[in-house]
């Protein structure tokens, strides 16, 4: 497929997505450039994971386009969608390793499913991927025997097993201790640069994201409220963006969930 390398790998245009009556995204647009780490930040509960599922074609938008290499993902036939998915991969928050297989077999799984390579070559490929995430020695362990950070790295090795063009990270830093957080931050950057990947990181860990991302979208209230390089964002004028970046409890995003008047409600109870 001839496709301009200067064009974004993933191009989201005027995306609207509803879940039931609730609007998750309203006319939102985003571009993800090739070879870059692009981050999507925002408060939890705004459907950041949903966005990754939309790009992966697991959900269909109500309107708008999601272009991957120029092909509109929601309009692809089932077969084309599966072909497109071979070029992308996703690192789930839980790792989502197959619990009944060893680490080695987990990483070998996509290779065995999609190629007819001899076992010796598969072994070499798996060991290379595991080496890249530093888990070559853990290949015979079962997922249950891994720590949370190791499980996520093993899942990362599986995600890059077929050398995808796009890799999507769903909250890669959530629930990690500082050391494994540092390891994952480094891995995302180094894998992106070494393998020529395009990375999308969804997260609400401001410091980590700002340190590795080339470009950041801040999403809140169903749309993009600010975007730019980390430098540009730090100088962004929107109070909402600033509240999020600096982690202030109260501000444009109120501390209190929408509720009736406090005093009135207390009076009702005592009555």
């Amino acid at each position: 497929m001839e496709f301009g390398l200067d064009k974004p790998l993933v191009d989201i245009q005027n995306l609207t997505f509803r879940r039931g009556d609730r609007v998750i995204y309203d006319d939102m647009s985003m571009q993800f450039q090739r070879g870059k780490v692009t981050a999507i930040m925002g408060p939890s509960g705004i459907g950041k994971t949903t966005l990754l599922r939309l790009i992966g074609g697991q959900l269909k938008p109500d309107s708008g386009k999601i272009l991957f290499e120029g092909a509109d993902i929601p309009k692809l036939s089932r077969q084309d969608l599966y072909q497109a998915r071979k070029k992308m991969s996703m690192l789930f928050q839980s790792g989502a390793l197959f619990t009944e297989m060893s680490v080695f077999d987990n990483v070998a799984f996509p290779i065995r499913e999609h190629t007819r390579l001899p076992e010796a070559i598969i072994r070499t490929m798996v060991l290379m991927k595991l080496e890249a995430v530093g888990l070559r020695g853990a290949r015979d362990l079962m997922p249950g025997e891994l720590s949370g950070g190791m499980a996520r790295r093993a899942a990362l090795a599986r995600a890059i097993a077929l050398d995808p063009q796009l890799i999507m990270y769903d909250e890669p830093f959530a629930g990690q201790d500082p050391i494994s957080m540092g390891v994952i931050v480094r891995l995302i950057r180094s894998l992106n640069d070494a393998l020529g990947l395009t990375s999308i990181v969804v997260s609400h860990d401001v410091a980590e994201v700002m340190s590795i991302a080339d470009y950041v979208y801040v999403v809140a209230e169903r749309r993009v409220i600010g975007h730019g390089t980390p430098e540009q964002l730090r100088r962004h004028e929107s109070p909402l963006v600033q509240q999020f970046l600096q982690g202030q409890a109260d501000g444009p995003v109120p501390f209190h969930f929408k509720a009736a008047d406090y005093a009135t409600e207390l009076m009702e109870l005592s009555r």
């Binding site: 998915r85 991969s89 789930f92 839980s94 499913e113 999609h114």
Partner: protein
């Protein structure tokens, strides 16, 4: 009153939607060219998990049900001096009715619940989603082998159940209560018809196998991916599958033996 009617309507619609989703799931799993050669180890593994591991409970239950049948039947038959009819009594009860039905009920409890819990947990831990993102269809990779394993295993388990039950009846009737061994077997031979009794029983258990397996797989695949959702789905599998088996048993019996 209006509320109850609304509830009834909602329940009916829910059931119909569930049926629709189950059909879609089955269609997605079985449609297209099957690749048993590439995935034969998956099929083998599931037949082992679903079928072989259910053997023990089937053997023990079959034996005891056969023994109880002989004991109960003997006391009644002895009143009429018809002890030599014990063989056909045990064999026909098992082949026509108890074999398929009890096997299906045990299978729903033993293998069906396990299938639901396994698939529900795979869904909750995003294993199914990640498989999909790796361009591997979970319906083909996960659902199809389990479906075939259930449909192949259960009729075989029912036949084993019948055989063990008949031996159990022999143990009690002949070895303990003193019915003539030759009479036990020859009366059975004379009164059991292959087409009418054996084949119909097997057809029943194939139908039950289909029902139980599809319900178990669907409940797991459709489970709310939380611990509470999975526990509910597992319970529902056993309850729904058992009731469906009993309901269909009545219909099938009426069609096969009613006329």
């Amino acid at each position: 009153m209006l509320k109850q009617i609304q509830q009834l309507g909602a329940n009916t619609l829910g059931t119909l939607q569930g049926l629709g989703r189950a059909t879609l799931m089955l269609f997605g799993a079985l449609w297209g060219r099957p690749r048993p050669l590439k995935n034969w180890h998956l099929y083998m593994k599931q037949i082992y998990v679903v079928g072989v591991l259910s053997l023990l409970i089937i053997l023990v239950s079959g034996l005891f049900i056969g023994m109880v049948l002989a004991l109960q039947g003997y006391t009644v038959l002895a009143k009429f001096g018809a002890e030599q009819m014990l063989g056909p009594l045990v064999a026909l009860s098992l082949l026509r009715e108890l074999g398929p039905v009890v096997t299906a009920l045990l299978f729903a409890g033993r293998a069906g619940s396990a299938l639901t819990a396994e698939i529900g947990l795979m869904k909750a831990t995003e294993q199914l989603s990640s498989m999909e993102m790796m361009a591997v269809d979970p319906l083909r990779r996960v659902i199809a082998p389990r479906f075939w394993a259930g449909v192949i295993s259960m009729p075989l388990l029912a036949l084993i159940f019948n055989a063990v039950g008949i031996l159990g009846g022999h143990l009690v009737g002949v070895d303990w209560l003193g019915v003539d061994a030759g009479g036990y077997w020859s009366a059975m031979q004379a009164n059991v018809d292959f087409q009418q009794d054996v084949v119909n029983g097997v057809i029943k258990s194939i139908v039950f196998a289909f029902i139980v397996t599809v319900i178990a797989l669907h409940k797991g695949f459709d489970a709310v991916p939380t611990s509470e959702g999975i526990s509910q789905a597992t319970t529902q599998t056993v309850v729904t599958a058992s009731l469906a088996v009993l309901g269909f048993d009545f219909v099938l019996t009426a069609v096969m033996f009613g006329g």
